[in-house]
Symmetry: C2
Subunit: 160 residues, 2 copies
């Protein structure tokens, strides 16, 4: 069994233990590649991306975590993420058949301790205005969460 990793945002019942374990493993992979990550980022559409990675040159990757076949089947809206990143991946674990994942996205095999890329994602560069908006959203979310941890009285009650 995997261990439940600690959380980058307050746990709210949306994520299973397995999904949290995969989130930690994928975070380590991107960290090792020089990317900064934020989890559970709400996009302009109101949808919530599981992991957003920001690369050394500003490249933006979204990773959607699927911890079971049912989890993937329940999500018909994954193509909605593509316009918000340069590269889109699914991440899953060895117990889920790889062939269920569409080839229009990359594929990552993860556990609680790390991850590897099985199939690279197609590269579809963001337009400049959306990259700027995504980078700002990423920066604000990360900084607000960090600030909220260290000064909970600073007025974060209305935020996630």
């Amino acid at each position: 069994m995997v261990h439940s990793p600690v959380l980058a945002v307050p746990r709210d019942g949306r994520q299973s233990d397995m999904a949290l374990a995969l989130q930690r493993g994928v975070g380590r992979l991107f960290r090792a590649r020089g990317h900064a990550i934020v989890t559970e980022l709400v996009l302009a559409t109101g949808r919530r991306a599981d992991i957003i990675a920001l690369g050394p040159s500003g490249e933006i990757t979204i990773v959607e975590i699927k911890s079971s076949i049912a989890d993937f089947r329940a999500d018909g809206k994954w193509p909605d993420y593509a316009p918000y990143c340069d590269r889109l991946y699914f991440a899953s674990h060895a117990g889920v058949p790889q062939e269920i994942f569409p080839e229009q996205a990359g594929l990552i095999l993860a556990d609680a301790y790390g991850a590897e890329i099985l199939r690279e994602a197609p590269h579809a560069p963001l337009v400049a205005a959306r990259r700027k908006a995504m980078t700002l959203r990423f920066a604000q979310a990360a900084a607000h969460r960090l600030h909220g941890l260290f000064d909970p009285e600073a007025g974060f009650r209305e935020m996630l």
Copy 2:
């Protein structure tokens, strides 16, 4: 006496209790104005800015904290920060005479619980390339620190 606020980065002896208290108060001011903040951000020059605030539209503010006359006098290099922000402020407390601070920068009066702007800073907009670089640096620092808090094993030993 002010209380020592908790830290957004590991305490390393660079900051006095007073400077940390002022940092917290200034953070609350910018938070209330809708800005996200990161403390102790290393710039491209290698110099470390006390507080960087990122506004709702991407505007970048640097605040240098001066907790005593001596603290201000010891810093002859403050104009070096101006090229890295849209607005530059000094922040200090009621025990330091306001007239020692140069009019080329804004001035903030702070304590551990909040702050107010006594003099607005001149607005000198960043060029696009530097704004992009600063936003990226801010985003990466905030996300790496948050990630490091929640998964210290993810490979942050070489970082602050």
